[in-house]
C-alpha cells in the first residue's frame, strides 16, 4: 500500500490517549474553540459539514450535513432538540466504534458538542450497547473530566453555549441500532422500530426533534471543522470523501481495524494490510461491509471500497467491515450462522421478517444437515424475495434477505450440492 494520510486513529496511538491531559496536549477541543473564536454560526457549521461530503459511517451512508439540516427551524419550532449518538455497534463484523470510544473519547465528545452547537441541541444521549463496558466507562470518565474542565455543561469554554451529554446503556439487542428502535429503547421501552414518517428530525426522542448519528460519523466532525471541508475532500473519492475505519475479520493473517481512504481497493486491504488469506490458502468469498451486505466472490476483490463502487458491484459498503472466507469455508454454513442471527434479532412486529427469518433458518439448516428437498433453493430465493424491499417497518428484513440472496446468486451450486439426489434418498 502506498502511504496515505491518516487522522482518525493518530491520537489513539499515544499512551493514555483517553485522558483529557493527553488529548488536550494533542489538540483536542481545538476545533470546538475555533468554532467559537471565529464566531461561526450554527448554520455555518452545518454548511461546512455539508461541503465536506461526509457520509454516515453507520451503514446507510447518508450525508451527515444534509441529515443535520433536516432539523426544524429553531425560531418556529421551540421544542427541545436532541441527538442520539448511535454507539450500539452490533452489525456482525463491525468493531470500530468501540476503539474510538475506548481510545479517544474526547474527540467524540468534541464532535458531539460541535453537532450540538450546529443543531442547537439541548442534550446529547450516547446510546452504548450494554456489552461495551470498557468503552462506556472510558466515555463516562472522559465526560466527567470534560465537565469539570468547563467543556461540557453550562457555558462551554465561556462561549455562552450550553449542552449536556449523557451516557446511556442498552441491553443487547441488534435492532436498537436501527435509529427509531434506538429511540424507543432509550425511552425505556422494547426496541421496536417506528413506522416512518414521521422522521426523527420532526418526531424523535419523546416526540421532539432528534438526529441520530453513528459514532464514527461524529468522530470525523472535529477534523472537518479544524482543517476544513476542502482538506477532507482531498481524501477518499468525489462521492465518498474522507478516511474510514475498515475492520477486517475472518480468514486473514492479521485481522484488525485499519484506517484507510474511501476508494481503496478491497484487495489492498486484504493483501497488504491484513497480510493476505491465512494459512496460505486462497480467497473464496467476502462481505464488504458487515453481515447485512451481500457476499461477493473472490474475483471481485479489486472493487474499490466506497459507497458507489460497492453498490455497482451488487452489494453495499455498509459499515466497511470486511468479513473474509477462505477456500475451505462453507458459504452455506455462514448463511446459517447469519440466518440464526437475524431470526434471533427480529423484533417480531412485521410478519415478513418474523416468519421469514425463521423459515430462512429452518431451510438453510435442513440443507446443511443433508436433509434438503428438491426445490429448497428456489423456495429460499422466493421467500427471501418476499421479505423486502419496503415491506416492513424497518430494514432488518432486508438485511436478512439480502445476504441469503447474494450467497445463492454467487454460490448456487454449493447450496444445490446440499440437496441429496434421488439415489441418495433411497439409499
Amino acid at each position: 500500500v502506498t502511504a496515505h494520510e491518516t487522522y482518525l486513529l493518530d491520537r489513539s496511538k499515544l499512551a493514555d490517549s483517553h485522558t483529557l491531559e493527553v488529548a488536550r496536549a494533542d489538540g483536542a477541543y481545538g476545533a470546538l474553540r475555533k468554532v467559537f473564536e471565529t464566531a461561526m454560526s450554527p448554520e455555518d457549521v452545518v454548511e461546512e459539514v455539508k461541503q465536506s461530503g461526509l457520509r454516515g459511517r453507520g451503514g446507510a451512508g447518508f450525508p451527515t450535513g444534509l441529515k443535520w439540516s433536516f432539523m426544524p427551524n429553531h425560531e418556529t419550532d421551540t421544542r427541545n432538540r436532541y441527538m442520539a449518538l448511535n454507539a450500539d455497534e452490533s452489525e456482525p463484523g463491525t468493531c470500530k466504534d468501540r476503539i474510538l470510544m475506548r481510545e479517544d473519547p474526547h474527540c467524540l465528545i468534541e464532535g458531539c458538542l460541535i453537532a450540538a452547537f450546529a443543531m442547537r441541541l439541548d442534550a446529547v444521549y450516547v446510546y452504548v450497547r450494554g456489552e461495551y463496558r470498557l468503552p462506556y466507562d472510558r466515555m463516562q470518565a472522559a465526560l466527567d473530566e470534560a465537565r469539570a474542565a468547563g467543556i461540557v455543561g453550562e457555558n462551554i469554554l465561556g462561549s455562552g453555549f450550553s449542552c449536556e451529554i449523557h451516557m446511556h446503556k442498552g441491553a443487547g439487542a441488534y435492532i436498537c441500532g436501527e435509529e427509531t428502535g434506538l429511540m424507543e429503547s432509550l425511552e425505556g421501552k422494547r426496541g421496536h422500530p417506528r413506522p416512518k414518517p414521521p422522521f426523527p428530525a420532526s418526531f424523535g426522542l419523546w416526540g421532539q426533534p432528534t438526529t441520530v448519528n453513528n459514532v464514527e460519523s461524529i468522530f470525523n466532525v472535529p477534523f472537518i471543522l479544524e482543517r476544513g471541508a476542502a482538506w477532507f475532500r482531498t481524501l477518499g473519492t468525489e462521492s465518498s470523501p474522507g478516511n474510514f475505519l475498515c475492520g477486517i475479520s475472518g480468514h486473514v493473517e492479521r485481522p484488525g481495524v485499519y484506517e484507510v481512504p474511501l476508494g481503496i481497493s478491497a484487495r489492498a486491504i486484504v493483501e497488504d494490510l491484513a497480510g493476505g488469506i491465512w494459512k496460505g490458502r486462497s480467497l473464496k468469498a467476502w462481505f464488504p461491509g458487515g453481515s447485512s451486505t451481500g457476499v461477493l466472490p473472490a474475483d471481485m476483490l479489486d472493487t474499490p471500497m466506497d459507497h458507489d463502487s460497492v453498490k455497482a458491484a451488487g452489494s453495499m459498503f455498509g459499515t466497511g467491515a470486511m468479513i473474509i472466507l477462505d477456500e475451505t469455508a462453507s458459504v452455506v454454513r455462514s448463511a446459517l450462522v447469519l440466518a440464526r442471527f437475524y431470526e434471533h434479532e427480529s423484533c417480531g412486529q412485521c410478519s415478513q421478517c418474523r416468519e421469514g427469518t425463521e423459515w430462512q433458518k429452518q431451510i438453510i439448516a435442513r440443507l446443511l444437515s443433508g436433509r434438503g428437498k428438491r426445490g429448497d433453493v428456489e423456495l429460499l430465493v422466493d421467500m427471501s424475495n418476499g421479505m423486502f424491499p419496503g415491506k416492513t417497518i424497518c430494514a432488518l428484513s432486508d438485511a436478512a434477505a439480502i445476504p441469503v440472496l447474494a450467497a445463492i446468486k454467487h454460490f448456487r451450486s454449493e447450496f444445490e450440492a446440499c440437496v441429496p439426489t434421488a439415489e441418495e434418498v433411497h439409499a
Binding site: P92, Y125, A171, G188, G250, V337
Partner: protein, 156 residues
C-alpha cells in the same frame, strides 16, 4: 430480593438525565441484576414497576425483550461465547466445546454446583479479535480452546 434504598437513591440520580423517568428503566434493570442476585426476579419487576410508576407487565415486557437480562436464576459466573460469523470462522465452536467441558454445563444452562452459567451469544462487537468469550462482563479476545480452562479457573 427487594429494591434497596441505596438503589432507589441511585435511580433518583439516574432519572435526572432524562425528561421522563421511564428512560431510566433499562439502566436501572442492569443495576438490579448486578445487585439483586444476578437475575430479574418477579419481586424486582414489581418493585421497579412501583418505582417507575408502570404496570408490572410493562416492566416484564421490557426486561424480556433484551438478551442481557435473565428472567430466571443463573449460575454465579456468566460465560458467554460469541457464535456469530467472524468468531464462527475462527473456531468459536471449539471454544464452546471447551467451555462446556470445563463447566459441565450445556449452553443455556447452569453448572450443577451453580458456579457457572454458559450461553452462546450473538455478535459482541469484537470481530477482529475472534474468537472471543465474555466472563462476567469482561471480554477475553483472540483466545484459543486451550485458554478456556485458565480463564474460567480465574473465577474460582
Amino acid at each position: 430480593m427487594a429494591l434497596t434504598d441505596a438503589l432507589k437513591a441511585e435511580f433518583d440520580e439516574l432519572c435526572k438525565k432524562y425528561p421522563h423517568r421511564r428512560a431510566g428503566l433499562i439502566p436501572a434493570l442492569h443495576r438490579c441484576q448486578e445487585e439483586l442476585g444476578g437475575w430479574i426476579s418477579p419481586e424486582t419487576i414489581t418493585d421497579c414497576a412501583e418505582y417507575f410508576e408502570l404496570e408490572p407487565v410493562e416492566v416484564y415486557s421490557v426486561a424480556s425483550f433484551y438478551p442481557m437480562f435473565f428472567l430466571s436464576p443463573v449460575g454465579q459466573h456468566v460465560v458467554s461465547v460469541c457464535r456469530n460469523i467472524s468468531c464462527d470462522l475462527r473456531g468459536a465452536g471449539e471454544i464452546t466445546s471447551a467451555a462446556k467441558k470445563y463447566t459441565g454445563a450445556a449452553c443455556g444452562e447452569s453448572s450443577e454446583d451453580g458456579h457457572f452459567y454458559l450461553e452462546e451469544v450473538e455478535c459482541q462487537g469484537a470481530c477482529t479479535n475472534a474468537p472471543m468469550m465474555v466472563v462476567d462482563g469482561k471480554y477475553h479476545e483472540d483466545i484459543e480452546p486451550a485458554d478456556v480452562a485458565r480463564i474460567l479457573g480465574e473465577t474460582r
